[in-house]
Symmetry: C2
Amino acid sequence: MNQPTPIEETVHRHGLRLTPQRQVILEVLRASREHPDAAWVYQQVRQRLPHISLGTVYRNLATLAEKGLIQEITLTDNATHWDGDTTPHTHILCPECRRITDLESFTLPEALLEQAQRVSGFAIQGYRLLFIGICPSCAAQHQRVDAR
Amino acid sequence: MNQPTPIEETVHRHGLRLTPQRQVILEVLRASREHPDAAWVYQQVRQRLPHISLGTVYRNLATLAEKGLIQEITLTDNATHWDGDTTPHTHILCPECRRITDLESFTLPEALLEQAQRVSGFAIQGYRLLFIGICPSCAAQHQRVDAR
DNA sequence: ATGCTTGCAAAACATTTGCACGCAC
DNA sequence: GTGCGTGCAAATGTTTTGCAAGCAT
C-alpha cells in the first residue's frame, strides 16, 4: 500500500530468496498500520500459513530490517515493534492505550541534523523520533471519567 | 555529579523511603555516564551491597523512573537502559559499539512540538529523540580496516 | 546441486511477581 | 506499630539458536 515496489523484485534485489513465509510476512507488514510486534505478525501470518513457526518470523523480521525492507521500532515496551513503511517518518506513542501512530511527513530540519553532527562529532546517519502524547480517543475517555 | 540535590531529600520529597539499596542504586546511576541496563546496575551495586537482589534493582528502577528521579531509555536493544540525568537531553547511539552518548543541551524547537501537536491532534507531552551515527572512535577503526 | 530457509524445540535473556520477613518512618 | 521495601525463587514473556530437513535458485 505504502510501498508500491513489488515484493518479489524487492526481495531479490537485496540478495534474499522469496519464500512463501517471507512474502506473507512482508505483505502483512505492508498492509498494516499497526506497528505490530513479532507475536502479532505471527498470528496474522498463521492465518495464511498455519505451519509457520515463530522462529521463522523472528528470523525474517531481523533479516528484512537488516536489508532495509522494514523498520524496527524499539521505542516502547518490552517487545520490539516493526513497521512496513520504510519512508522516513515519525511516530507518536499514547501512554494510555500504548498504540503507536504515524506522524506523516514529519522530518527534522537539516539544520538540526547538522547541529547534532557538529556538537557530537558523530557521523550522523539518521535518527529516531517518538513523540509522546495522549491520543484524541483517550483524551475523550478522560473527560468522561473526570466528569463522574 | 550532574544532579546536586541530595539523594535523601530528593527521595523523601517524592514520598519514598530511603533504603540503603535505593540510595546506592541512585548513586551509581548519578555517578555514571554509561546509560546502563539493569544487569549493569546490579553488578555495580553488588560491590557495595553484596546481598541485594536483582528484583530489587528492577523494582527500584521502575519506581525511581515513575517518580522522575531517573530516566528510562528504551530506544535500542532488548534491554531497557537508564539515565541518572533527568535534565532534558538527547542521546546518540553508535550502531557499531552500541554505546549511548549524551548530546548535551540539544532540544527540539517549540515550533516543531506545536507542529506535531497540530498535525496529529495528540496532546503532546514530550518526545524521545535518538540520533544514530558512527562515533569518532569507531570511525577511526573503519579507516584502519579499510586501509588494509 | 548448493546453500539459504524453515520447523521444531530447547535455551538464553529480560523482566515481573508472590510471599514472608525486615526495616524506615 | 504500620506498611513500604527487600530477598528469594519461581513464573512470565521475548528472542535466539542448534539441528536436520526442505525448497528457491
